[in-house]
């Protein structure tokens, strides 16, 4: 039997592995991002994503997929297409700047003598 080289380039997958076709053309349900709040007082935390035909069903699918082990007291679903994300290739411009700027952290400053309630 002929060995298959999984790394070999194929005609089906465009270079870089990015599928450029619109998923809607394949009648795939749209993607939703799910946020779960585990208990009162905490904030909603991104838990993952899922497919659903609309918001109401997305909420129900989120309940089934992400809270079946008692993880949640509240759920948000957001259309993934509505999320504007920072560009992974622009990490430098976005996130390098704060590095090394220790004076932006409270611990940088020495407590002044004689100042109460600090």
């Amino acid at each position: 039997m002929e060995e298959t080289d999984r790394n070999a380039p194929t005609d089906q997958v465009p270079e870089g592995g990015v599928v450029t076709e619109d998923p809607a053309e394949h009648s795939v349900w749209p993607l939703w991002e799910v946020f779960v709040r585990s208990s009162r007082g905490l904030s909603h935390v991104h838990a993952g994503s899922l497919h659903a035909p609309d918001a109401a069903m997305a909420l129900r699918n989120a309940r089934d997929l992400y809270t079946r082990r008692n993880e949640g007291t509240s759920l948000w679903v957001v259309p993934a297409a509505d999320i504007t994300a920072s560009d992974p290739d622009s990490k430098g411009g976005y996130f390098e700047s704060p590095k090394g700027k220790s004076y932006r952290h409270a611990t940088y400053y020495k407590q002044s003598e004689g100042v109460p309630h600090l």
Partner: protein, 281 residues
């Protein structure tokens, strides 16, 4: 807490509590022993849940989408849980375990209704069956919580919250399939039409429900007919579909004598337990 359940109250991976809820082990450990009639009633309610859980389990890996696969699987597991409660309690009358009753009773000893025995068909047919059964059990359990029998009331209270979701799931899908494409509407209508002859059996006052209802233990099945059908008609109409008018199929007595599918369902469900009695893992 729940040590008999075989798992700890803390999930070590997520550090999330499993939470407090009535478990079949609680029912088994309690000193409550069902009276003969009550046990027969609990058996009837439990068999419906058990058979439908078995049917729905067949959707695993076959649902239209991964998300729906898990939704149907969750509902099946909820129903299996309800069956465990009812069978455990029924068994207390006869010194039998839930497994004795689920795996070592024969076809004619089951008391399931034919609605839950119907095959899954396509997704539309399964949703139609889910709609009818979840609306029926919701009306049933919301009355059974006031039962004079404290154990039945506690089981109904636990099951009601889960059935609340089951009927929402079915109703949401009915609305979408009904208002979707011509094909989705045709299929879910066909599902309703196929299930309808078996609706009347849910409301048949079979033995010993009448006696038990007089004692305030059971909910008289015929008393559920109007509220369940009213709500079904409303949601079916809202979905742009036609409430079927088929008469009830002959032999609505849960006896299994007129059941086309029960034997085959049990053959598959019971084969492992019967080939390897007492096996565990």
């Amino acid at each position: 807490m729940n040590s008999a359940a075989g798992f700890t109250s803390q999930d070590s991976a997520t550090r999330i509590s499993v939470g407090d809820a009535l478990t079949p082990e609680d029912v088994s450990a309690s000193s409550a022993v069902a009276a003969e009639d009550t046990a027969r009633y609990a058996l009837m309610l439990g068999d419906d849940c058990l058979i439908l859980a078995q049917r729905l389990g067949n959707w695993i890996s076959r649902a239209p989408e991964l998300e729906e696969d898990i939704a149907l699987g969750n509902i099946a597991l909820d129903l299996l849980g309800h069956a465990r409660f009812f069978l455990t309690y029924a068994g207390s009358a006869w010194g039998k375990s839930e497994d004795d009753l689920a795996y070592f009773r024969d076809e004619e000893d089951f008391r399931s209704c034919r609605l839950v025995e119907q095959d899954n068909g396509d997704f539309g047919k399964t949703i139609a069956r889910q709609l009818i059964f979840s609306f029926y059990t919701h009306e049933l359990y919301s009355r059974l919580v006031d039962s004079a029998d404290a154990t039945l009331a506690a089981i109904a209270d636990k099951a009601l919250k889960e059935v609340d979701y089951h009927q929402d799931h079915a109703a949401q899908w009915l609305l979408r399939l009904g208002g979707g494409t011509a094909e989705s509407s045709r299929r879910v209508q066909a599902g309703l039409d196929a299930a309808w002859p078996y609706v009347e059996e849910l409301f048949a006052d079979v033995e010993p429900t009448e006696r038990l209802a007089e004692q305030g233990v059971a909910v008289l099945p015929s008393a559920l007919r109007e509220p369940v059908l009213d709500r079904l008609h409303a949601i079916i109409t809202e979905a742009g579909l036609n409430p079927p008018e088929a008469k009830g199929a002959f032999g609505a007595d849960r006896s299994g004598r007129f059941s086309e599918h029960r034997g085959f369902i049990l053959a598959e469900m019971q084969v492992l337990a019967r080939q390897h009695p007492g096996a565990s893992w």
